[in-house]
């Protein structure tokens, strides 16, 4: 169309009709709609984040007086208050410890399992992988009553040991599934060469498989930690005293005390303390996180 105009042709009414054919209108319309909605969506998201950060730096009087103005003066003490007085620092350290440890154990158990499962040609091993995949689909809350009873039999209610054990079991289906998928894309030539050279199974696993699967292992590890960092229902059920809380449970309990304290801006600071590390991790490791959380659809 436009090319014809450039060349100096005069549009006939027929040609004009061609340019307004329904599919052209539909095409332009959908593209325009897409951009308008997408931009509105992103603006809303960004404004929400900025509002949250701004509010966390205000005093409560500032916030209640003018919730949509910029903070002045800045009140960074919300953060130190949340960290020490509201125990967020304590919850934070505990979350880091238990999440890293539980994920490390889960990944360590998953690597050899995923290796043999990805190399096995038996039907049985396919069933085992499917069995792990089912574990990703079933809500953990269904297992919660028997788990709670078992933990109280073994005196592990309200203990990091008990919660960590459940976390390992919750993480394994995901890490085995991800690693099996990853390892089945790794060519077998290297390990066969190693075997010809007389390497033992363990030698092959540690010298060949682990180094070549580094990026898959990293993905499994990161996604495991993200999952546990955000985990609430098990921790909320198993942990009964404040001195044992993880971050999400601590944030929930702080949220509960809001009705007595009305400390909104302090809660927002606690909110940011909870989400900030995961957002930083996401900014740096988004490729791993996205590929893992989408169960390897993106690889």
């Amino acid at each position: 169309m436009s090319m014809e105009r450039v060349k100096g042709f005069v549009e006939t009414p027929e040609q004009r009709k061609v340019s307004l054919k329904p599919d052209v209108v539909l095409n332009r319309g959908v593209q325009g709609l897409g951009w308008v909605v997408l931009v509105a969506w992103l603006v809303f998201t960004i404004v929400t984040i900025l509002w949250l950060v701004a509010s966390s730096l205000k005093s409560n009087q500032q916030f209640f007086g003018s919730p949509f103005k910029l903070p002045s003066p800045l009140v960074p003490s919300n953060y130190s208050q949340a960290w020490s007085v509201s125990n967020m620092g304590d919850y934070f350290m505990r979350s880091v410890g238990i999440d890293v440890l539980a994920t490390a154990v889960a990944v360590a158990l998953s690597i050899p399992a995923a290796y043999v499962l990805s190399r096995s040609t038996l039907n049985l091993s396919r069933w085992i992988v499917n069995g792990f995949a089912v574990g990703i689909g079933i809500p953990i809350q269904i297992a919660l009553v028997p788990l709670y009873v078992a933990l109280s039999w073994t005196n592990l209610v309200n203990s990091m040991m008990g919660l960590g054990l459940v976390y390992v079991g919750m993480t394994i289906p995901l890490t085995v599934f991800l690693l099996t998928g990853f390892l089945s894309t790794v060519p077998t030539e290297l390990e066969e060469a190693a075997r010809v050279d007389g390497a033992s199974f363990m030698g092959t696993l540690f010298r060949i498989i682990v180094p070549t699967a580094r990026s898959g292992i990293a993905t499994a590890f990161i996604v495991g930690i993200v999952g546990l960092w955000n985990e609430f229902i098990v921790a909320y059920t198993v942990l009964t005293t404040q001195t044992k809380f993880t971050l999400p449970v601590g944030l929930y309990s702080l949220y509960g005390s809001l009705q007595y304290t009305s400390d909104w801006t302090g809660l927002m600071a606690a909110f940011i303390i909870t989400t900030f590390p995961i957002l930083i991790a996401f900014a740096i490791l988004s490729r791993h996180i996205i590929s893992g959380l989408t169960l390897g659809v993106e690889r």
């Binding site: 992103l42 960004i46 399992a113 953990i140 809001l258 909104w264 909110f271 991790a281």
Partner: protein
């Protein structure tokens, strides 16, 4: 060749069996008993807990909430995801947009619930603030009759980025020459997306829809905290919330029969299973296509 060493998988399987599979099977077993939960005294009652499901009005209303979230919420999520995937799939620099859309998926749902409670707040919330900026009247978004739709809107916002990214991941695997060929043949953007791209990522769409079926039934933390810590109004009682309350009780509703709680849990598994089956029937290809 490696079949002999399958036992190497035993430790991972063992932990998984003990911590996950066994408790799930035990739950299914408990659903056949009447159990007050305060003693070790379990009374076998056969299927009577399941019979009770049909006479409990809360089960029906919770099921409806699950379906609203799964079907209505899912339709909106996939509408936006497809629209966004269509809008950005040709861009060379998508990563910032993708990250901004995706990030709610890595934020703890408890935090997101608090965030949305703030956004919806009648007096100080951002949404009413923007409304009044344009001369509108503030709306009580979390009033009893609007709180569930308000929660669904938030859950939509949380999930759209995740499914957009999955769709974009599928699209990025389509060989470029196929897209080019369609363009040479004169297909415009909408036509090539609808006729070429979507059919080619059918498997990815199937996985995405199946994942949403699971996610919608699993959604718990957000609804649990959305109305404030300490109490969950019945308007937000999906099967998951109801099952948890039956299992662990509240001040107003102490536990009375854990067998019944587990019967509700089994209904949740059945909903996931049936949802999976339907997704498979609707989306499965007649033949596998390689490209």
């Amino acid at each position: 060749m490696r079949n002999k060493v399958l036992w190497i998988a035993a430790p991972a399987m063992g932990v998984y069996l003990v911590v996950f599979v066994l408790p799930v099977l035990t739950s299914i077993g408990i659903s056949l008993f009447h159990w007050s939960g305060y003693s070790g005294n379990l009374q076998f009652v056969g299927l009577s807990n399941y019979a009770h499901l049909t006479t409990d009005p809360q089960v029906g209303s919770s099921l409806m909430k699950n379906f609203e979230l799964m079907i209505v919420g899912g339709a909106v999520i996939f509408f936006f995801s497809l629209l966004f995937a269509f809008t950005v799939w040709r861009l060379r620099h998508q990563s910032l947009i993708r990250a901004l859309l995706f990030f709610p998926s890595v934020v703890p749902p408890i935090a997101l619930a608090i965030l949305w409670a703030f956004l919806y707040n009648f007096q100080y919330g951002l949404i009413n603030g923007v409304l009044s900026l344009f001369g509108g009247h503030p709306v009580d978004w979390t009033a009893p009759h609007t709180i569930f739709p308000a929660a669904v809107v938030a859950i939509i916002w949380i999930n759209v980025g995740f499914y957009t990214v999955i769709l974009l991941a599928g699209i990025s695997k389509i060989p470029q020459h196929i897209i080019d060929a369609a363009q040479v043949d004169g297909a415009n953007e909408v036509v090539s997306f609808a006729r070429i791209v979507l059919p080619m990522i059918r498997d990815v769409v199937t996985v995405a829809v199946a994942l949403w079926v699971v996610t919608s039934v699993k959604t718990f933390d957000f609804l649990f905290a959305f109305a404030g810590a300490g109490q969950v109004p019945t308007q937000l009682w999906t099967l998951g919330i109801y099952q948890y309350i039956l299992s662990f009780g509240t001040r107003d509703l102490p536990i009375s029969n854990l067998g019944y709680a587990e019967a509700v849990a089994v209904v949740m598994v059945v909903v996931v299973g049936v949802g999976f089956g339907i997704v498979n029937l609707v989306f499965r290809r007649k033949q596998r296509v390689e490209f």
